[in-house]
Symmetry: C2
Subunit: 486 residues, 2 copies
């Protein structure tokens, strides 16, 4: 690893106040060399090598889960104007945000080409050619690509960008409504497994109708909570019904020889999955990465005194190799000729989960000092036959403990309220998620949003026996969440 | 694997004449479900799941080699007009080919944005910020991205496209001219190792000055030969000298505190690496994939008679599992309820390197019939303790034999000529690469290109003692190649 652009007067992040989350977030992205925001287009950034590795590890986890029963493919970036505009509701949702290619070289194109904001209108004309018979279904595809949104709101790295570099979109095709419904449930399970691997807590809600994906029957979303108390939407699952099937004429032949429209779902995550790993787990010392995604899971720092240098380095190398080869772990031996303390600071800031410190005394006693980044605690463990297993056990514990800690903090920040006043009071005191009873009426919901001046995330649970709506006083049937959102 | 869009009246590729390479190539891309060319924009195609897997395996090989001493990163797709146009020679080479984004939503952008045709002008302004001191150098980066060229020539899938979906570009930065020169040599070694893994033969030449990369001091290229006798450029290495460093002000501080411009190289490969694997190894039976890149390295086909079905399937499963887990091989058990002959045809067409056939008699004798796709030959081998090793040995042999066969055919198609007439005669009789002696003068080279109506690929070797130039009769110093090119 090379420090690309550390400047001498860089401030120490340790001194900062975590409540200034936005500033912390920008600083850690820079200091841990995750992305470089100085690219000369607003909302478009460079993934630096360290950030790219975190992104790659996260995507590997996602791919492994999806590859169980999805097929990865890759569609072109550009979408012809007439295809993009075929589905009226859909295009209305995106028309203000689409980047348009109008020229090739010095020639004006006959037909404008859109940079995909999402790929329904790129894929579905092809699905119409691909789907023939009921025997072909279901089909489950995904791709991981860059998409583009001409955001007019304030942009934020990894959170609100104009080039989404890491857009995972899955698209599935089914012969029945029930099968599509089942796929929605499967997609929820997929994302649960995925976020659990990242240790990211979430609430799952059905978005209110005025906030669903343009063209979908309904949208179910995952939201997490960043340290400033604002929720971040990190995944969405859409039941598309037959809307797009009818627009793009995607039909299949039934066993009886009839032609029927298919049912479709799609679900996606974006760069925000990486933002959430950075934001949820980070602390005053900087980045804190779960071993599942850390570029280096372990860094080995030799504690060298002049006379022992060679022996210590050799010992460290002998410690490194089996962890890599037999343990299949991502291990880095930091043999740079700088002070150990500087190394400690740097690797803590970069979030390496486990640091092994080895000095002459440790060699003598066949010990190693193990420092856990998540707890900022040290212990000494013996280098014996089961050493690799012991280290793996600690790494597993770190994954688990980080997840538990994140969930605890998350759950602490969900408050139940009985009245609008209580909601307002709670919003003024703490920033987090508020749970309340709602009648489900759109007019009432929008009225409430105006009163509390934050968004309804969505419906968490339907229940006939929860009492009355906190806003209109009519019968409530929905356990609902609201929060200040990104 | 699912046959996405096989139609009943699809023609059998086996009956075709390989000399009609172009037709064969298009057909096999379709039939083996590598890409779908029916996407509604000329020169932009869909990677289908099977093709995507081949592409992924090829990229894994490439990444593994590059990751030894390069760092992967990811730059934005869009380049502001003023950055793209900063380097005059460079932009001149691309100005007819650049796609321009002019609108975001309904708003005209203040500054046009180019879809990257290549990323020098995206990366180098940032390099100017990153590079500080001699201690930072060398730096070696790469990214694998999509790039765009508004091709006015006839497009061909994977060969001449408007969206290059698989553009691997490496960019390196050095403090001295010598170090940059060394990197050029290292890049050649990298590509040799890479193409050797794919079994793709190549010639390496220094492109004539009128054919170098816009802005480079010189360009060295890899060309292979497709079955129609036309060469395909599959990799290029550019020594950029200080041209871009001066344009983008990329300097470093020397140990003496002076500020000096850096030296740069860049090198790239594209979708053509996949085109070459398809084109070079394919035969009348369809695709033929080296085990190194095949999505399935082995397919197991049970030979089932009704009464033995269960036993055979169970045996096949027991054969599959250890090959996957202990052997770490990509194995597919084809248990579909269709005729074995249909399976044979399909997997041969899709190029699976090794087929294991298992029937009741094989189970009884503890044998398995092994079919090699490259030689279209069968042998019977015993299922014993070293079975996995035996299979791995065969797969290694296939990699080696396919590479040897490709090189033999390639070398047979390089002809040496002494005169222009001989060159013309040779070009009319066989189509391949022609080797000749050249004086090195640009006017003479261009004159020769006009006479023979094919391109000079480049200089293979400098040698003072090779005689006279076949065109002008003056002293020749360059062993040079020419060929009809893609």
């Amino acid at each position: 690893m090379k420090c690309l652009y550390l400047t001498p007067n860089r401030q120490n992040i340790t001194g900062e106040n975590m409540s200034e989350f936005s500033e912390w977030f920008h600083k850690i992205l820079e200091e841990a060399e995750i992305i470089d925001v100085r690219y000369p287009i607003k909302g478009m950034h460079v993934w630096l090598p360290q950030g790219f590795k975190i992104r790659k590890n996260i995507l590997n986890i996602l791919r492994k889960i999806l590859d169980e029963d999805h097929e990865e493919l890759l569609f072109p970036l550009l979408i012809p104007e007439d295809e993009l505009e075929k589905e009226a509701i859909h295009v209305k949702g995106f028309e203000d945000e689409v980047y348009w290619v109008t020229h090739g070289g010095l020639t004006e194109l006959n037909k404008k080409l859109a940079l995909r904001p999402t790929s329904e209108t790129a894929m579905y004309p092809m699905f119409s050619l691909w789907v023939r018979s009921h025997g072909d279904l279901p089909l489950r595809f995904y791709q991981i690509v860059n998409t583009f949104r001409y955001e007019t709101k304030h942009t934020r790295p990894l959170i609100r960008v104009r080039e989404i570099t890491t857009f995972k979109e899955a698209h599935t095709i089914h012969s029945t409504k029930e099968d599509a419904e089942k796929q929605v449930q499967k997609a929820l399970e997929i994302y649960k497994r995925f976020f659990d691997k990242l240790g990211i807590p979430y609430v799952i809600t059905r978005r209110p109708p005025w906030d669903k994906f343009p063209g979908a029957e309904y949208t179910i979303a995952f939201d997490t909570l960043l340290p400033d108390g604002k929720t971040l939407q990190i995944g969405t699952v859409h039941n598309l019904g037959q809307t797009f099937a009818k627009t793009f004429d995607i039909t299949y032949e039934t066993p009886e020889g009839e032609h029927e429209y298919v049912y479709q779902t799609c679900y996606g995550v974006s760069d925000r999955i990486i933002a959430s790993v950075v934001g949820v787990h980070g602390d005053k010392s900087g980045l804190c990465l779960p071993p599942n995604v850390a570029p280096h899971q372990i860094v080995i720092v030799p504690i060298i005194f002049k006379e022992d240098a060679e022996e210590v380095l050799e010992f460290c190398q002998e410690l490194t190799d089996p962890l890599k080869t037999d343990g299949n772990l991502r291990v880095h031996l930091d043999s740079r000729d700088i002070r150990a303390g500087k190394k400690f600071y740097e690797w803590e800031m970069r979030g390496v989960p486990l640091r092994l410190e080895v000095g002459p005394r440790d060699i003598k006693h066949k010990n190693v000092v193990v420092f856990r980044r998540d707890k900022l605690e040290k212990e000494t463990i013996a280098i014996e036959k089961k050493f690799i297993d012991a280290i793996k056990f600690i790494l597993d514990s770190i994954n688990q403990d980080m997840k538990d800690k994140a969930w605890e903090s998350f759950n602490r920040n969900i408050k139940s309220v009985e009245t609008v006043d209580e909601a307002l009071e709670s919003l003024s005191k703490h920033r987090g998620i508020i749970s309340f009873n709602w009648c489900g009426e759109e007019s009432c919901g929008k009225d409430l949003e105006e009163k509390v001046r934050v968004d309804i995330l969505g419906i968490q649970k339907e229940d006939e026996n929860i009492g009355v709506c906190i806003n209109c006083g009519h019968k409530a049937t929905f356990k609902t969440l609201l929060a200040k959102t990104y």
